[in-house]
Symmetry: C2
């Protein structure tokens, strides 16, 4: 590969001149003629700045790390796309961190930051990490922004309006006339689960309703968790006529388990999920969902990380634009014996 030296030799100038021209330094003070010779030479040699050389000298990589617990999750895709788009627009690259390593003591973070592979990172921790483990991860001074979670004392987070999402989903069932509405939620320690819970409860309270404690399961966000939730909820007496599922993957599992148990959706049971994704469109029946813009979160997270890197400013941001939006498909209907 051609180096600055090669280009300089071909253009008959010094290395510094080439560097200044090609990285268009503001006060480069190079004549138009020289500039042209340099640009031509660079093009002819197909010059590309060496990443390592530049990073070493400038102590900047122009890379942000994105660490997610589970790339299987359909939502990850949206997040990643948003992150990539924002990064590219700002001249950064996204490095996807090894998800499985996001454990207490998490080596990924220490490595990515410590070895100088990234300038900062966006970190979605999910259910997997215990609050105690989180502390180790973020007490470094590094520019880290949490995605869909927050930590007391840590400044720098981007979250969705989970509260509102769950509220809208619950309201939808209420408006259809349901009076026994269950909630298949994530693990108690999950940050998002806590916030969605308040939305669910507020919607019920506003309608003057109150559900027995067993109407909320707090099992988790996976497909299997959804299956378990359905079995547990439909074993109750009286059975719920509608279920708000806090996660689309769990909803897919819950729906499948309902089919297997001979429960008809939406005739016997209405199901609405918080979060939308392409998988939700392709279940049977297609899932009614509250669309939460993960793409926007990806963008906001990267924007926040970059701002933190470049200016040092931090913030805790709730993405409310676009707002959570109900997408009515075919998994919800009025209760049969309304």
């Amino acid at each position: 590969m051609a180096t600055l030296g090669d280009v300089a030799a071909r253009a008959g100038v010094s290395i510094s001149a080439v560097s200044r021209v090609l990285s268009d330094a503001p006060d480069s003070r190079v004549s138009a003629a020289t500039r042209e010779r340099i640009v031509d030479a660079a093009r002819e040699l197909n010059y590309r700045p060496n990443f390592a050389g530049r990073a070493l000298k400038s102590a900047r990589t122009q890379v942000v790390g994105l660490v997610v617990p589970d790339i299987t999750n359909a939502l990850f895709t949206e997040l990643m796309h948003g992150a990539e788009d924002e990064a590219t627009e700002r001249g950064y690259t996204v490095l996807l961190g090894r998800s499985d390593d996001v454990r207490p003591g998490g080596e990924v973070i220490a490595r990515l930051i410590g070895e100088g592979r990234v300038d900062g990172m966006a970190l979605q921790v999910g259910d997997a990490v215990q609050p105690a483990g989180l502390r180790d991860l973020i007490t470094t001074q590094a520019p880290i922004v949490l995605v869909n979670s927050s930590y007391p004392g840590h400044v720098g987070s981007v979250t969705l309006d989970d509260h509102r999402g769950a509220l809208i989903a619950t309201q939808h069932l209420l408006e259809l006339g349901h009076e026994r509405i269950a909630f298949a939620n994530g693990l108690p320690r999950s940050f998002t689960a806590k916030r969605r819970r308040t939305g669910y409860k507020l919607a019920l309270a506003t309608a003057g309703l109150r559900m027995p404690k067993e109407y909320e399961t707090r099992i988790g966000y996976t497909v299997d968790n959804g299956r378990t939730a359905l079995r547990r909820l439909m074993a109750l007496d009286p059975k719920p006529t509608g279920i708000v599922v806090a996660n689309v993957n769990a909803a897919v599992g819950l729906l499948g388990e309902a089919r297997r148990a001979g429960i008809r959706v939406p005739e016997d049971l209405s199901v609405v999920t918080v979060h939308d994704s392409w998988t939700a469109e392709n279940t049977w029946p297609p899932l009614t969902a509250v669309k939460m813009q993960f793409y926007t979160v990806g963008r906001a997270a990267v924007r926040s990380v970059i701002r933190r890197i470049e200016t040092g400013e931090t913030s805790d941001e709730v993405v409310t634009d676009p707002p959570p939006e109900l997408v009515v498909r075919e998994s919800t209907a009025p209760p049969r014996t309304a």
Copy 2:
């Protein structure tokens, strides 16, 4: 961050000694006592080798790029996991390339390789790239291995046994007694589509059958493509009683469209897909599928890239272990009027 110099100062030795000890050079020739002082100092300072410094000097990044056309695809996840596992075991890191840029003239590849961000790459091109565009991408001397495709003259590829996968899927329908078996395939220019086609045809020929030309659609691998394929195939006369779908995403779409059209699966129509994924388990009915190990392909691809980087050897490999395996679920049954 602590540098080699810091560690050296603290241990009271030279930088070279520290470097040799910490990167355990084979003939480091350092006394046990000194070694211990160095290791202790490094630990106390929480030393981590600077990525840029190391990369600059050694002209190696220990990073392989993985470029895929569409990270939405459920199969990508498996591929990525395999790639990551293999890379980690061998001391490499995976950098996920921006998918959308994999177009003719593809800038990603030139950048990742040209700027020295990666030592080599695994490239899954998919349907999106025209054969002509491919040439530009791979005629560089860089260590590039193609995944699920190949290119005349280019040595270095890892593919699945697509032929066999389609063969097994078709045989399954034949064994159930189907005699009108359609094939929802990918685009004609797709490498995998061509190979799956031969499997489908061979199975039919072996059974002494031959289908009219219209029984094969060559639309593509997306969910929407699957929907279109179903409409087109079920408009034929006589209708097929079974469909082999070349891709699981397309199969999901095809299944959804069948529901919408009031076609019962498997009573009116059997559907079997090539490739399995978690989405296939969660459709209704759950999809019968031929499981193809994308995880293994990810591993093999990275292994191949690394071998190419380190030894210069190249190879064209077909992953046959584990072999394609039929997973019978509930989307296939004997034809009604057998």
